[in-house]
Every structure is written in C-alpha cells, then in structure tokens.
Symmetry: C2
Subunit: 291 residues, 2 copies
Amino acid sequence: MAEDNKFDIAIIGGGPAGLSAALTGRIRNKNIAVFEHLDFSEKLQKAHKVDNYLGLPEVSGKGLMQHFTGHVLAHGPKLVKEKVMNVFPGDNMFTLLTPQTTYEAKAVIFATGVVSTLLFEGERELLGRGVSYCATCDGRMFEGKDVAVISYTEEGENETVFLSELCRNVYFLPQYKGDFTKMRAPIKVLSAKPKAIVGDGQVEKLVTDKEEIKLHGVFIMRQSDPVENLLPGLELEGEVIKVNRDMSTSIPGVFAAGDCTGKPWQIAKATGEGLVAVLSAITYIDKIDLA
Amino acid sequence: MAEDNKFDIAIIGGGPAGLSAALTGRIRNKNIAVFEHLDFSEKLQKAHKVDNYLGLPEVSGKGLMQHFTGHVLAHGPKLVKEKVMNVFPGDNMFTLLTPQTTYEAKAVIFATGVVSTLLFEGERELLGRGVSYCATCDGRMFEGKDVAVISYTEEGENETVFLSELCRNVYFLPQYKGDFTKMRAPIKVLSAKPKAIVGDGQVEKLVTDKEEIKLHGVFIMRQSDPVENLLPGLELEGEVIKVNRDMSTSIPGVFAAGDCTGKPWQIAKATGEGLVAVLSAITYIDKIDLA
C-alpha cells in the first residue's frame, strides 16, 4: 500500500467531533486522515444561530463551521472526500474501504454524527441480498434490473443517475426537499415514505405508504450508515455507540465521539469528546508502537 | 431566605467547565449562580498560548478567558465572588455555605478544577481540630494563640493579615512565588515545604522540611479544597469525582464537570462536560418540580 494511504489515526466524519479530534491529533504531531464525503456537518451548517458554543457568541452554523474548518485545515490533516463503507480490524492495524480505494490506520475514531433512525423492516436481513448502501460498489450487479434509491442526502442523486445508466427502471425516493427536475427517464421520482423491504432470501419488493414496487435492489443513502454495518461487532447501547469515559469502544483501537455516542446533540459535547477520543487514541498507538 | 439567595442551579467554579454550564443554563432560562471567589481560572489565564480550542486559533489563555467570560456574563448568571465552604443536601434543595452567607439551589454542579494534590499527613484526621480551610470562619477560635497559614493562592495573604490581628504568632508559608514584604509582625514568612500536621486529638505542631513549629492551628488555603470536605459522601475515583456519562455523581442532584472529574485537563473536555452537566441538572430539576 502506498505510504500516503497509511495513517496513525483515521477519523470518520468531519463535524465538530471529528474536527476537534483532528486538531489535537495534528498538534500532537500524528498523521491524521479525516474522511468527510459530504460538506462538513450539513446539519450544523443549517443552524440559523448558535449561541452556546463558549467563546463564539451569536454565530451562524455556517460561520461556526468556517471557523472550525479554517482552524483545523491550517494544521494539515489529510482530508479524504470519500465515504468509508467498511472498517476491518487487523493486526494492530485497521483497513478502511471506500468506493474508490483502501486505507490503513493504527486507530479509528467514529465521529459519524447522529445514528440514523431505525432501519427499515427487512433492511438488515436483506443487506447484501439486494439491499446496498453504495451504488458505486454494487451497481453493476443490477444491470438491466429494477432498483430503488431511498435517499436522505443530495449525494444520492448522483448515485441514482449512475444507476440509471445501468438499470432498467430506477425509482428515486428522496426523503428531503429539493429540486428533482433533472432526474430523467428511466428514473421515476416517487414522493413516498418507505415502509418495508420484502423478499425471501433476495429482495423482491419495496413497500411504501402508497404502493408496492416489484424490484431487485434497494439502495439506501443516509448521511451516515448504521454503524453496525460499518464495523460489525462494535457494541451499541440502544442506537448509539457504547463508549467509556475515555471514549474507547468495545473494540481496542476504535474510539467514538460526538452525536454517534448519544445525546445531548450539542457542539461542545462533540468537541470535548473528539479531544478526549484522540488523546486516548494516541495513548493506544504509543502503546502498540512500543510493543 | 431572601429570594435572591435561591437558585435553580449553583455552579461551583468559574473556569471553562463552570462557564460553559452557566451559558447553556441561562440560555435554557434557568436561574443560575456561578461561585468564583478568585479570578476566573488563574491556571488557564497563565497559559501563554492555546491552539486546540476549536474555532479560536492561537489565543492567549488570558484572551480566551476574556472571550469566555464576556460571552457568559452577557447572559446574566449571578456571579457570586465568595468561596463555597460546605454543601449540605436537604429535601430537594441544597444549602451552600460561604464565609459570608448562605445560599440555596435545587441542583449543584462541581466545576472546581484540578483536585489539589495529596492531603498533608494528619490533615484529614485533624480537620476541625485545629486544621481549617477558612480564617474568616474559624479565626476567632485562635485568639491569642499560634497559627500557621499554608497558602497556594494570593487570597491567603488577606486571611493571614486578618489572623495577625487576632493571634499571637502567625507563620505564613506561601507555596507560590510573590512579594511578601507587606507581611508585618506578628507574621513570620517562612520559605518551607509543609510535611505533616501532628497532634493527639488537637493540632500541636507543624512539621516542615526545615523545622518543627509548635502551634494550635493550621489554615490551608488551596485554589480548591478537597472535594470530600466540601460535600462528605460524594464518591471519588482516586482523587477525582466519580461521574457517569451524563455527569451525574453518586449524590442525586449533584453533577460535576471539568478537571475535577479527571484527565485530560483540557479546555474542550471541560466545556463539553459543563454543557452535559447543566442539561442533566435541568432534567433533574424539571423532574423534582413535577413531583
């Protein structure tokens, strides 16, 4: 693997928690990658006014993220604009897969934001059997077939266009407001809420609040995928990642910070946890480097 | 009790943790008191440069505290420049004693900073038997007698002058650098490190690295007193306050945040914990108000 794909610490997510971790990690002179495939914390950027981040009164969410990214990027972490699809623990080293390539890191910090709402009925059972989170990865398996894209982010639009070049029918179910006039045949934009994914060993249909659609594949594009799919075996507590006071998780070398560890969903909680997580990750790395 | 001595939440300490708690507490419209008897976080103010508080690059410790206090005080918490000596749990209400007066609060947040180093040998056993943390409170018990003041803060100088008006001999042992030329007889300034306080049921002498001094009382002035003396029964973990993920402690209605809950001693950790502590305190208060 090329040296520039290897890092001390891989931080998944570029919101306040991930950026705070990256900042202190760089100041502590570690080789840090921040994986942020969307714009930095779209949720925060939409906040009209933030007034309880100590020291920066009455700032817009967008302004705050500009302060944050400016501060952190000046310290030179590697910014990787790719979506981490899987994390594989290895021998004192983690492998991270994105649709584009592969990375390695000695420690990983999950700062993936609010864990998505409940999975759809059938989603877990049919994952890899027609349910996918990545068109770039899995699209070719559905050439000439019928698929749906359930999307919570604009990113899903590009994936849908890509699928429309391969598939017979592509149903696009945006779960956000937007302008979808650029979506051309064979894409059909449906204004509907998905209810269940049904199939006997393989996806057969998607049930929405309006109709049932016969198809072969369902792509689900959330801001962040269910963590349990990213790294199987990571212990959860309800829907959030279970962490100790030092932000370590159930897997040695894996840490978590910010909204993905639970409420309150607040900036200062996220930045504080990001800081603690990266210092714990550094302690962990220093220990394995000595061993 | 006068209504203006009653609060929803009493925050003990005006460093980053206490100020962050006060900020969100006021934004949530609670009646908040911040007890800060010294200048806001002397430790932070002495920091030459802070560069890992996300969003405020390359700021001096003093500048950062000015940003913090300006932001918080604009939201109108009550700032009480008195030292909390004791906290007594009552019926859905805590009583806080300072040398000057008495306050009440429904919930208490400890943000008292780094817990002081180990107690002196004999200190715990002889507390209330000649060992005291407050000259204003206990000075009169030593009229015409011999006392020592071991001080880690300039505040101890005023207490020492006060004692010199009452006592026969006053030994002043500053544990910091300063100009002590204003200290007049009967004050004797000693440049020595205290080792032990000795006595059989009552203080009899102070042992330093240089000599043994016969006396009746020893006053110890630290930036913050040992928490276990402030609120007996509060569970510790080593030297720090034991907290849960929501910053609750072993005593219902008592929360803690910042350096007093353990390392890392960092600003973002403190502000994050302060935020979480105050939100947990508000949830607690809302529950008892409903009951």
